[in-house]
Subunit: 111 residues, 4 copies
């Protein structure tokens, strides 16, 4: 699946409803809601949290995908091409952070 | 670019450093940090917030990409295939939410 | 109720359990979870979100209090006096932001 | 300082500006921004994150107070009495969670 197909699938899905995309700050609120559910799962699996018996089992992959869905909605509603934004970010990281962490011996830059 | 390539690019990037992927709760903290920067940009563009002159200009696309990067790091570090998780989520939405919002007339299900 | 009493009540509550305070990053994850629930309520009341009939009614005041509880836990576990931190913050705002927004005519500083 | 005084101090501060309180979803965005800065500090102190030399030193107490400030703004703008909300929450926890975690021997309920 192309990153572009992912954006297209979300657009096909949202476009069938009259409501359409939400305004940016409402989308952000929804992103927080989904990140909050991801936090709950992560704390359950990797933190000291004891789940209440009444809390439904969930999965980290599911919560990650829900977060991704909202990110894609936000990108679509603002006409942002995620592939282009991702590539520019990787370029920025390569320029900016290349010497920020210690490289493994086999990955030291020459010269 | 395939979703899988995106995960691979992040893995190639992280794998050159001795530090490697962060533990899940530290990755979550970093996700929050990036979502916080996205929130600042969104509030600046769509909310009542007045930026301080000393605050650097940023872009929503950049902040979205930074959030995406951390989601991909989290997925990679937990061996989660984002394409599969995304597809399962879309299937879930199609089953669960198909009648949650009002469809446009041209998209009403038959029968 | 004094801010200090609020911290004491939380400490009395937590101190009865063997588990005690959580480590900082787990507390942060929990804060995100609570902020996520607050986001859901706010979106329900002030955004375009349509609640699923199966979602329990909640209240913004309750979610705000849950966020406050986690902030107090975090402060307690790190020996932070919230009253002192709050007072220093207000002093910082008074110095830094006094001219950031437009004052009402009746609040313009003299001279 | 009373919790009520804290709400009053914030109200006195905000009331001098024409802008006044922000709408709820913009306040939420700002809360996320502040929680994001708290996350950065916590990750710096307790996680694996290496700060860039250009990043200013901050303090956890300061970031906690900034989060508290936005919570108080949100409460004030929605006419929520934080002391009452806090007390109701503690009552709820006492009823609901009393047996959720293991009590220390000295705190076991009688009978």
């Amino acid at each position: 699946m192309l990153v572009r197909d992912m954006q297209q699938q979300v657009d096909d899905w949202i476009s069938q409803f009259e409501e359409g995309y939400w305004p940016p700050l409402a989308n952000l609120a929804r992103l927080i809601e989904e990140v909050g559910e991801l936090a709950r799962e992560l704390n359950h699996h990797f933190g000291p949290k004891t789940k209440k018996p009444t809390e439904a089992e969930g999965s980290i992959a599911e919560e990650l995908a829900d977060c991704l869905f909202v990110l894609v909605c936000m990108a679509n509603s603002l006409d942002i091409d995620l592939e282009a934004a991702f590539s520019e970010m990787m370029d920025k990281y390569r320029r900016r952070d290349a010497r920020r962490w210690k490289r493994k011996p086999s990955h030291e830059p020459e010269g």
